[in-house]
Symmetry: C2
């Protein structure tokens, strides 16, 4: 027989990274990580929606807790666009930035031109010890420039 879906290579890799981060490997945690890999820039609610079909009784509180644990462990990155719930993504450690469409909310990653975090240094840090620079570009995505109605919004 073929391997069960539970032991495919992506799942295994995920389980290993959770373990390596010092966290217990649980079914909901793996499911959240997979949902996040398939849907970058998801809100806690969206993650819950993606995970529910797979894992029936998953509460949204659990998802919040899992997301907080994974973020704390450095497996997930969180960012808070203005006027939107917090969004999460698996792409971590590369100090990339975000392009946000102020009309439809679409998000695109942009590589950091400069390099490692903090990719920028403030002109006058006023005694602050700066760890990271969060850069968010606000604009209109191509669809929102072209069309008057945001039909492309999911």
């Amino acid at each position: 027989m073929t391997q069960s879906p539970e032991s495919d290579s992506r799942t295994d890799t995920l389980r290993q990274s959770i373990r390596a981060a010092g966290l217990r490997v649980t079914v909901p945690r793996v499911a959240v990580l997979e949902a996040l890999q398939d849907n970058p820039h998801s809100s806690a609610e969206k993650v819950t929606d993606k995970v529910r079909p797979v894992l029936k009784g998953t509460s949204s509180q659990a998802v919040y807790g899992i997301l907080a644990a994974l973020t704390g462990a450095g497996l997930v990155r969180r960012f808070d666009p203005a006027g939107s719930p917090a969004l999460f993504e698996c792409r971590v450690g590369d100090n990339h930035h975000h392009l946000v469409c102020i009309r439809c909310g679409a998000i695109k990653d942009v590589d950091c031109v400069i390099g490692a975090a903090p990719c920028l240094t403030p002109s006058d840090a006023s005694g602050f010890a700066v760890f990271a620079a969060e850069v968010t570009f606000n604009g209109l995505c191509r669809e929102c420039q072209d069309f008057s109605t945001p039909e492309h919004i999911d």
Copy 2:
């Protein structure tokens, strides 16, 4: 007799700028703007607290409405630090950035090194029309580096 406090020069300037922005000049609007000049980086709640002693029956809903109107008119700038309520400031149009202490929440303005908005250009805008780059530097303020207890927090 001397001039009444209501007609001092700051108030007059404020009234004029509100008018110039196409908005009606009202007592609460002027009070919010003054509170914001005296307390940059204030949340809606803090503004309400500052305005209340002067203007007894000001509702927090009114403050939200006023802040939204002033922000829309370009007289006030709003920004949303992660994990904090939205903050407002009068310093507009100069594309400055913010230094945020991740421990005590202290905020400092930093002048933009580059220049006019958007002060940065993403490496690959992917079709987005970028208007502005929001830059937030996360770090620890001097007090939070020096002391183990954040006694300086107001």
